[in-house]
């Protein structure tokens, strides 16, 4: 057994090893959250399907039927849903993880484990929702008899990018929320606002060419466009420089989030 040294300001070299030792806790916390969420509900896990489905219907009617925005030659519901998937994942992960540390305050002040487990578990919970609502997309594609192209093989990589974006944002917001509870008021606003400035209800091809790069500063733009490119095979919305910019920003968000989280983590138990 190696000697463990506890000292002020010591960034424990053991940290990543600890994280590995506690790997089952990721699963258990996520499992708990999923179990608890649908306890004493009548339709249970169906809620994970109903919400995105309703938003999809509204967006199809408002943007597709009423505003008559271009659909890039695919059925509008599929266009919307291919974007809804990553967006909902990001938005859920963001709001779930923002409260995750505070919601587990009793654990943090009583037991040691790498704190990184908590927000990560929230992201995993949202990822499960993401997989469940993926079923709706498959259903829609069967309904419209729409077959994806070979590009679908790029989807796992794009899901990884979406995961990284959700993690990065989640780490920042959860750590900030411990010290500054102001952020819990910012989160719903960001989520609501983000739904409209991200190309969820419409294709990003409606954004004028000269603003595309600027538009891609929102990292979710690259992720959503990537999803549409892979699932729908549409080139119209895909814009490579913007995509690369988004990827770069996601990487920055994640490494920055990790750094900030590790830096503040040591004081969580004292200030939460």
């Amino acid at each position: 057994m190696k000697e463990l040294v506890i000292e002020a300001g010591r960034t424990e070299r053991q940290y990543w090893k600890d994280l590995w030792n506690y790997r089952e806790l990721f699963y258990f916390l996520a499992w708990r959250d999923i179990l608890v969420r649908y306890k004493q509900t009548v339709i249970g896990i169906l809620w994970a399907l109903i919400r995105p489905l309703l938003i999809m219907v509204v967006f199809t009617v408002v943007f597709g039927k009423l505003a008559k925005l271009p659909s890039e030659g695919v059925p509008y519901p599929i266009l919307v849903f291919a974007a809804m998937l990553p967006w909902q994942f990001f938005a859920n992960a963001f709001s779930e993880s923002s409260n995750s540390l505070i919601g587990n305050a009793n654990l943090i002040s009583k037991v040691y484990f790498p704190r990184l487990v908590i927000p990560t578990s929230s992201v995993i919970v949202s990822f499960v929702d993401f997989l469940i609502s993926g079923i709706i997309l498959i259903g829609l594609m069967l309904w419209y008899n729409f077959w994806p192209s070979w590009r679908l093989i790029a989807l796992p990589a794009l899901i990884a990018v979406a995961f990284a974006a959700a993690m990065g944002a989640g780490l920042w917001i959860s750590a900030l929320n411990v010290k500054y509870r102001d952020f819990r008021y910012i989160v719903p606003f960001v989520v609501q606002f983000g739904l409209y400035i991200s190309p969820v209800g419409f294709s990003s091809s409606v954004v004028p060419e000269q603003y595309r790069l600027l538009y891609s500063i929102n990292p979710m733009v690259g992720v959503i466009d990537g999803f549409r490119w892979a699932i729908l095979g549409s080139d119209a919305s895909f814009y490579l420089p913007g995509f690369l910019l988004s990827i770069g920003l996601v990487a920055l968000l994640l490494t920055g989030g990790l750094w900030f989280f590790r830096k503040t983590e040591r004081t969580f138990a004292d200030i939460i």
Binding site: I6, N106, K179, Y180, D182
Partner: protein, 425 residues
């Protein structure tokens, strides 16, 4: 030496206490306004480098000062001291929940802590689910929990309720299950903080038995308790903390007797500050006489009061605050609650700070030293706050009829003047 398992060197922990602030967390708004204020001051008087007034509300507080000691493999060490002496902070640092401000600790072995039973239990989940969840939180793997599952269930005696949500458990079942999970951890070093204060006598006995078993296996235990008989039974040596300093370390009998000897009366528990996360929270307590002087010794039949300040942070129903008078042998001599005499208190209590006072029953207590335990919560149900050894006072018997022939303490738990009627026939 290789058999030294924990080595604590010059350990110190500093907290910053904010006096004005109501909430324990910072609001971004305050940070911004503070920054603007101090900037404004700098502009107005740029050469005045005194600390700005916004910072004077923050006070440094050393919960632990320069603590050093060693623990050998297989030792069972008791940590004693008054409330606020730093015992729990010490355990929190050793278990890595919070980090020290100064000094270091070297540990050779896996540490597990029983800081509070039931941490991480989720009320909506069933007993079975909670065993797995709690085990994982305490650092057990899934396979390990599966292996010990039957043993845990048997120890907790909850076979029939395995698939019932723990929110429907009685508090006794809840505590039994929680302790059972924690007791089946197999760490090299076990930190125990006052967990034996819960449950009925039979269960407490079994807990002590389990701890003894752990000791037999050659594990190292650090044991915080106010219960001197438990400390005496389990520990070979004891560390005495006072105001964050290590006063004494040595054989159990010597240190415990030193701690219990008369110099340890304390008539006041200083304000512990708010705790917004707790539904009920004991703030402060003091012993006073009729003239409101704080006092730690009373004479038989003298009038004295216990005055308590507590917070309620969300409006609650059917809660009470109770106080036990405990003698030096850890026996509860009398217990009293604020609802005993007023039905009205059972009704809803809004959030706020409450002050309450009751008379010390000096008319029935026998000579000796008494310490007070406070518990706040639902009668025979959930306890929101519980504090042992809050204040300690002595009672001396110098009644008029007590001539020099009564040199010893009168026998009996209580001592009350009964009206004897004597006549010659």
């Amino acid at each position: 030496m290789s058999d030294t398992i924990i080595r604590v060197e010059n350990l110190g922990k500093k907290y910053l206490i904010k006096h004005q602030q109501q909430d324990s967390y910072t609001a971004l708004r305050d940070v911004i306004t503070d920054k603007v204020k101090s900037l404004g001051k700098k502009i107005i008087s740029p050469w005045n480098h005194k600390q700005s007034s916004t910072y004077s509300t923050t006070e440094e507080f050393w919960a632990l000062k320069d603590i050093s000691f060693k623990v050998k493999q297989g030792e069972v060490i008791g940590i004693i001291g008054r409330n606020g002496a730093g015992k729990s902070t010490l355990l929190k640092i050793i278990s890595r929940i919070t980090e020290p401000t100064k000094g270091r600790i070297r540990i050779n072995g896996k540490v597990a802590s029983l800081l509070e039973v039931g941490t991480g239990f989720h009320p909506e989940l069933t007993g079975r689910e909670n065993i797995f969840l709690n085990g994982a939180i305490l650092g057990m793997g899934k396979a390990e929990i599966k292996r010990k599952f039957d043993e845990i269930v048997a120890f907790a005696e909850i076979e029939k309720f395995l698939d019932t949500p723990v929110k429907r458990f009685s508090s006794g079942m809840y505590v039994r299950l929680a302790f059972a999970v924690a007791a089946h951890l197999e760490p090299e070093i076990l930190l125990v903080d006052e967990v034996l204060a819960v449950g009925d006598a039979a269960f407490q006995k079994r807990c002590m038995g389990k701890m003894g078993e752990v000791v037999q296996k050659g594990r190292t235990i650090l044991f915080v308790s106010h219960k001197m008989d438990a400390i005496r039974r389990l520990c070979q040596s004891v560390i005495l903390l006072h105001d964050g300093e290590l006063i004494r370390k040595g054989p159990t009998e010597t240190v415990v007797n030193h701690y219990l000897s008369g110099t340890n009366l304390y008539a006041e528990l200083k304000d512990r500050g708010p705790a917004p996360g707790k539904a009920m929270h004991l703030r402060s307590a003091k012993l006073i006489d009729e003239k409101l002087n704080i006092k730690d010794n009373f004479a038989k039949n003298e009038t004295g009061y216990v005055e308590v300040l507590y917070d309620i942070n969300t409006s609650l129903e059917n809660v009470h605050i109770v106080c036990h008078f405990v003698d030096n042998e850890d026996r509860i001599i009398i217990s009293t609650g604020d609802c005993d005499v007023s039905r009205r208190l059972h009704q809803k209590r809004e959030s706020g700070t409450y002050k309450t006072k009751f008379k010390i029953p000096t008319d029935i207590l026998n000579e000796g030293e008494y310490s007070l335990i406070f518990a706040l919560g639902v009668p025979y149900g959930r306890i929101y706050d519980r504090l042992t050894d809050v204040v300690r006072f002595s009672l001396s018997d110098s009644r008029e009829g007590n001539g020099p022939e009564y040199i010893q303490r009168r026998p009996g738990f209580v001592l009350q003047d009964l009206p004897w009627e004597t006549e010659t026939t």
